[in-house]
Structure formats: C-alpha cells, structure tokens
Subunit: 291 residues, 2 copies
Amino acid sequence: MSKIIDGKAVAEKVLAECVDEIQQLKNNGVTPGLAVVLVGEDPASKVYVGSKVRKCAELGLHSRKIELPADASQADVLAVVQELNEDPLIHGILVQSPPPPQIDEDAIVKAIDPAKDVDGFHPENVAKLALEDASGFVPCTPSGCMRLLKEAGVETSGAEAVVIGRSMIVGKPMALLLMSKQGNATVTVAHSRTKELAEVCRRADIIVAAIGMPEFVTADMVKEGAAVIDVGINRVEDPSAKRGYRLVGDVAYDEVAAKCSAITPVPGGVGPMTIAMLISNTIKAARQSVS
Amino acid sequence: MSKIIDGKAVAEKVLAECVDEIQQLKNNGVTPGLAVVLVGEDPASKVYVGSKVRKCAELGLHSRKIELPADASQADVLAVVQELNEDPLIHGILVQSPPPPQIDEDAIVKAIDPAKDVDGFHPENVAKLALEDASGFVPCTPSGCMRLLKEAGVETSGAEAVVIGRSMIVGKPMALLLMSKQGNATVTVAHSRTKELAEVCRRADIIVAAIGMPEFVTADMVKEGAAVIDVGINRVEDPSAKRGYRLVGDVAYDEVAAKCSAITPVPGGVGPMTIAMLISNTIKAARQSVS
C-alpha cells in the first residue's frame, strides 16, 4: 500500500503559513514584493510567469511583471535587473528561465542582488547552501522536495538517500540539503556516468529523481518501502490525450507506487511546491530586508 | 599487494610543474607572491607558516609573512587583509587556521579578495566549485587528493566513491570534485549520522577518509582492491616514541594496506600535497591577475 504525497495539499499548507507571515509584515508596514521578468514569448514560460503573478495577487503580495521582447539585448535585461535591485518595493526578483539564446543567463543571475535572489541561483546563495548559512535562499525545487519529505513523515536523518541527477538547479542543492545538519542523510549522487544505477538506487531509503527522462526509474530499481520524490516533468506522446501528449515524471509511477512507502505523483507532486517555496523565499527576503 | 601512493613524490612533481610556470610568469615580469598571516603563537601553526614561506623562497616566489600577536583584534586582522588585498605584489593570501578565539574566522575569510583566496574558502570560490567554474580556487587538501588519485592511475569516472566527513574544508569540496564532470564518480557522503558505515564503505572503489578519528577505517570496511585516501592526521600516545606520540591517519594503515590496491600513508600521503596545491593556486592567482 503506497502513500501518495499530495504536493497540492502541502503547497496549500506552506501558502497558508505564508498568509500569516504576510499579514505580520504588513502590520509592520512592509508588503513583500516579487518581480518576475519574462524575456520573449515562450508559451510555457508565459504560463509559469502568469501563475506566479496571479498567486502573488491572491495572497496580497505586491508584484511586478516585466515583459521584454524576444530580441531584447543583454544590456536591456541587465538594466531591468538593476532597476529592480534598486526598487525598495521589490524584495524578490526572478528572471524566467530559459531566456532567448542571445541572453547570458549566468551573467543575469549574477547581476541580481543576492538579497533579492529568491530563485537561489546567485553564487552567494549557492555558497550559503554549501556552507549551511541559513540566511541564504535555497532553490525552490529542492527546498520543496525537503518539505514534502518532512510532511510525509519521511525521516531523512540516518537514511540512505540517492539523488539521481547532478544539476545546480536540483541535484546538487538537493544533495547538499540532505547531507546538511538539517537533513543528516547519507547521500549518494548518481548521474549519467553511474554504473550499476539500479543497484545504487536499490540501496536508497529515499530516492530523488531529477534526470529529465520519462519513467526512467522502474520498480526493480526501488527498494520495498522506499520514499520516492519525482522531480521530472516530461511530455510523452499520447494520441489518446486531448493535447496529443501526457505529462509523466522520471519515475514509472504505477509500478513504483505499488512498491514504495511514499511517492509524489506527476503532476501534483513537486510541481505545486515550486511556487509555494518561491512565495516563501520572497517573504523571507522581505523579512530580512527590514531586520 | 598494495600500492603506496607517495605523496612526497607527487608533490615534487606538482612543484616541478610550478617551477616552469613561475619562470614563464617571471619572463612576463610577474613574480607570484604569497602572503601568510599568522595570528598568535600556536606552535603547529608556526611550523606550517614557516614551511610555506620556506617553500616560496625555494621556488623563487615572493612571499610575506605577517605575524600578529595572540591578542590582536578582529580589526587588526582585517586591516592586514585589506592591505594585502591592495598589495599588487601579492597574489595569494592565507590566514593560518585556527586563529585565536577572539577572531571571527568566517569574517576574515570573507574579507579576502576572492581573486587572492588561494585557500579556496571564500564563498565566491565555494560557489565556483559547486558551479564547476574553473576560474575559482579549490581548497588545497581535496584538490591534492584528486591529484593523488590521478597520479596513482585511479580512474574516478564511473567509480563508486565514498567520502567520510562532510566538512567544508575537505568532505564537501571533495564530494563536489568527485561528482563534477571532471571526476564523474558516483559519490556518497557519509558522516557521523550514517548508519551501517562499514557497509557503505565496502561499496567503495575509492574511499576518502576525512573524519579526524585515528585508525577509524578498518580492513573490514574496505572492499578488496579499493583505493584509499587518508586525509586524517591524528596524534596518538605512544610511550615508545621520542615525542611520546605518533601520527596516524583516519585509516588503520597496515590492515587496510594489505587489502586495498592503493593507499596514502600518514605522514607522507596527503600532507605534502597541501603545500604543493597552495603554491599551485598562488601561481594560478598570479596568472589570472595578468590575463
């Protein structure tokens, strides 16, 4: 019997906590503000940006949406970032990824004031994560995964965790969180060069799959009773679906769900957490700006 | 039959490469310069600082040794760091650890110009390591370990590596190096909270022991044919020794040596690499200062 980790419900819980914190900040004369910068016309990015801005409005946060044309220059984007860095009503800045190819995303991230870097990608925040300095901003997806584990009652301390994927967006920060004094897990980072990946995964009490390969983690790779966090969101063709495709994670859900003790579905698992952690980071940025 | 990894010989090789690079830099009018700051009278620290300065002289590097009294204030140390940051003849700055208790070491590290942070402890360099930005400075001990593995012909790519210890001086940077595109190992970080540590270690093709517990890693924890890097330097009482103690590593050398394919002795393994990598980092800093 598997326990489905309801990402929507946990995200609602996080956002409910946010509502309280927003009220406290407002009582002190501060309305947390988030700026979202969208460069170009990528339809998926438009959807993401729209829902972030909508969520801000819902919660009573101040927000700004800045849209730049697809042919915006690096200097155009940097000028916007600079203006937002200086805007006292903005506490969090997010430049929607991926930008068009003429934009150097690394340079943009570095230009964001680290105190407003609610995505947690600025080198100063990367270092704070590695150094376990709690004043930093942790990237939203891994911090969302940690919260899901906690809410599902999965003990990380002393557990064997296997993180599949070593990106700086998910894999590495997830590993750093799990191995920190906060997580205390024994962490293995597996990746494309890992031999015997199935064997490595079978050791895990906790699997975090972040490889971007549809239904890559199969039941034979999962220990009976393990907890499985599926970060992947992949489109696979499906003529029977209305849009011609369906969304699947990096985990073969049905067969793994039958074997594990807890699992996040796709969609409805990690996905909803991302925006909740973004709002949470924005509130933290606002709080730290006045302390 | 075990292969002893001769850290002295590898360090000599690294330093021989350094000599060539120093000559090239000098031909271009740049003499790499290292400043070592010693606060207080700790005897071990004095020895370390002395040998660093001596090595600089031997190799024709410019060096400065700045000694501050044991009761120096934070402001005193910061003033020295600031002066060194601005000294155009100094490319690398090292403040010998540990400073006296009144000194906030973290704040000192952050005050060092990251471009001169040859210890690799500044957050900017921590981030560069995590982000695999080769312009950063990698802490000397883990980079020395990587070089030892390479020189011993130990293939890291695809290997299972277990790092015991999760400090920011050794364990975490070592794990980041091993899991990077440069290392490509499947890395597990084990630590005080790891259950079944022996079992975890037995999986390893490569063990890096950095826990600071004398002879902690015993033969039963090591897979036949594994490579073992021993970062520990521990004093254990020994009435038969002249000084009343002897130095041992984190690995029970004799019994593990009989089982593994390659091992670093203590002393004479990782130790000599540290200073070689420090010199190497100083040269890199000098090179980057003129490019």
